[in-house]
């Protein structure tokens, strides 16, 4: 009898842990031609929404606008799984995903783990993609001003230096 109760408890506990929102509920929050992030609806989805967002961001069968928005919405979650996920995207070869991954990483972790953000920013400041260098330099200006000034000295394109200063 005890083992039956134990099994039931384990089942209930597992069910609670697995109670992530349905993917289509999360997807609905990413729809619209002129989408902007609103925190409330995502928070109302409850625990597990970040897991769904990570799945959407990684789903290559989806049109990018949904994946981009999932990455942006992940800035609302500062847990370790999300941090690792955002770092991976920030270091990816696709600049659209890299910039959004970095932007969300910054929003979620720049206060609690500035070193984590700094490491990715250092990497992106060497990127051949100008917009990635700009985004990384702007962040570095806040967390490591000397590194930011060094970037301005070695950056060859004037418009990139100018944009990094904005």
């Amino acid at each position: 009898m005890k083992s039956v109760i134990l099994l039931v408890l384990i089942f209930i506990n597992t069910s609670l842990v697995m109670a992530v929102p349905e993917t289509n509920k999360v997807m609905r929050l990413l729809e619209g031609r002129h989408w902007e992030l609103r925190e409330g609806p995502f928070k109302r989805l409850g625990e597990g929404a970040d897991q769904r967002l990570r799945e959407i961001a990684d789903n290559t069968s989806l049109t990018n606008y949904l994946r981009f928005r999932a990455l942006i919405a992940l800035s609302l979650y500062d847990n370790e799984e999300t941090g690792v996920h955002l770092e991976r995207h920030a270091r990816s070869g696709d600049s659209s995903f890299a910039r959004r991954g970095f932007s969300s990483l910054t929003r979620a972790f720049s206060r609690s783990e500035p070193d984590r953000v700094r490491k990715v920013a250092e990497h992106l400041m060497e990127s051949p993609e100008a917009q990635l260098r700009i985004a990384a330099a702007r962040e570095m200006r806040k967390i490591d001003p000397p590194a930011y000034r060094q970037f301005l000295q070695r950056e060859s394109k004037a418009w990139v230096r100018e944009a990094a200063r904005e």
Binding site: E31, R33, H34, T63, N64, Y65, S96, R100, A130, A135
Partner: protein, 351 residues
């Protein structure tokens, strides 16, 4: 000695009082005597209070008043009265485009508004310049609108442009799409904000008599499918608000462009640029000013999340309309109502 000082002090005080009264009178007289005059040509010349007059000649199809300002202020229209003295802003006001650096007023935004011939009056604040553009050419059965695409990168957008052209053609508008021009690499990723210096510089390349479509690789700061510089954009006026942005990378699935979606986005943003609003906004409580566009009411919200998706609204409630607020995965958005076509046919740059 004390008496002399007192006399000087009284004299000084009297002088100050007289001067201040005189100054006040002069200012009052200036304002009172500065009656608005009827502007001729494109430059509007309001008086110092921002009030002015302009003439709409017989045969005018549409007009657009542009108000520009520094990018940190929002020009504001406070009144627009037709020759009969009817105040249009009581109903048109919520649809008047207002943004930092640029606001405007378009007539007509639906068949309820008419560019009546005669003397119109207006009142505006926070502007640096006011301009008026009018269209007097006749409305042909199938008007033509010139379109100039620009692109950053090497994606092939010809299929999407054909889809966009076909949507308008089916609805009685001919699009004269010019050869696509390639943009410099610095414009490959730009801000969605038309006041941003790089975006502004890029959009200012567009001609004033065309819809300028900028197919950018990506936004630097947004995840939109596309956005227009205004509803309407600055048709007839070259500058920062004379075009629309369309995000190429947002339309890709596994590296390939979704041409149907891209063509619909280009058409949707062009619709905004020419003066069309979303028939229903996502919350199901705000609707456009056009009488025959399908409204998707809040009652269609099946899961009470206060967001009406294209699936929930379906064709019956306008999900197939080009101007629906959301894209539609399970159907094409190629429909426009007669009321929407009424506005497009009267677009300032249509011929």
């Amino acid at each position: 000695m004390l008496g002399l000082l007192r006399s000087i002090l009284i004299l000084l005080l009297l002088t100050l009082v007289i001067q201040s009264c005189g100054s006040s009178d002069t200012n009052q007289n200036d304002v009172d005597s500065e009656l608005p005059t009827v502007s001729t040509g494109n430059d509007l010349n309001p008086n110092s209070s921002g009030n002015g007059l302009f003439e709409i000649k017989s045969g005018t199809v549409s007009f657009l008043i542009h108000a520009t300002s520094a990018t940190n202020t929002k020009p504001q229209f406070n009144s627009l009265k037709d020759p009969d003295g009817n105040e249009l802003l009581t109903t048109l006001g919520e649809f008047a485009w207002k943004s930092n650096g640029y606001s405007n007023l378009l007539v007509p935004i639906s068949s309820s508004y008419d560019p009546k011939p005669g003397i119109w009056s207006y009142s505006a604040t926070n502007y640096s310049q006011l301009k008026l553009d009018m269209r007097t050419s006749e409305i042909p059965e199938t008007p033509t609108i010139k379109v100039q695409p620009y692109i950053s990168g090497s994606d092939n957008i010809s299929s999407a442009l054909n889809i966009m052209k076909s949507i308008f053609s089916t609805n009685g508008i001919n699009l004269d799409v010019e050869d696509t021009e390639t943009l410099e690499s610095k414009y490959s990723q730009v801000s969605y904000n038309f006041n941003n210096s790089t975006t502004s510089e890029m959009v200012s390349k567009g001609d004033e008599d065309k819809v300028n479509l900028f197919f950018i690789t990506d936004y630097t700061d947004a995840a939109y499918l596309g956005n227009a510089a205004g509803i309407p954009g600055s048709q007839g006026l070259k500058g920062s608000h004379n075009g629309v942005l369309i995000n190429l990378s947002a339309h890709k699935t596994g590296g390939s462009l979704n041409n149907q979606l891209l063509g619909e986005t280009a058409g949707h943003e062009m619709g905004h640029f020419l003066g069309l609003f979303h028939p229903s906004e996502s919350g199901g409580t705000l609707f456009d000013p056009i009488a025959d566009t399908p409204q998707c009411p809040l009652s269609q919200n099946s899961n009470n999340d206060s967001k009406l998706t294209a699936e929930e609204c379906g064709q019956q409630y306008g999900a197939d309309n080009l101007m629906f607020w959301d894209s539609w995965e399970n159907g094409n958005q190629d429909n426009l109502t007669e009321g929407q076509v009424y506005v497009l046919k009267r677009a300032l740059i249509a011929k």
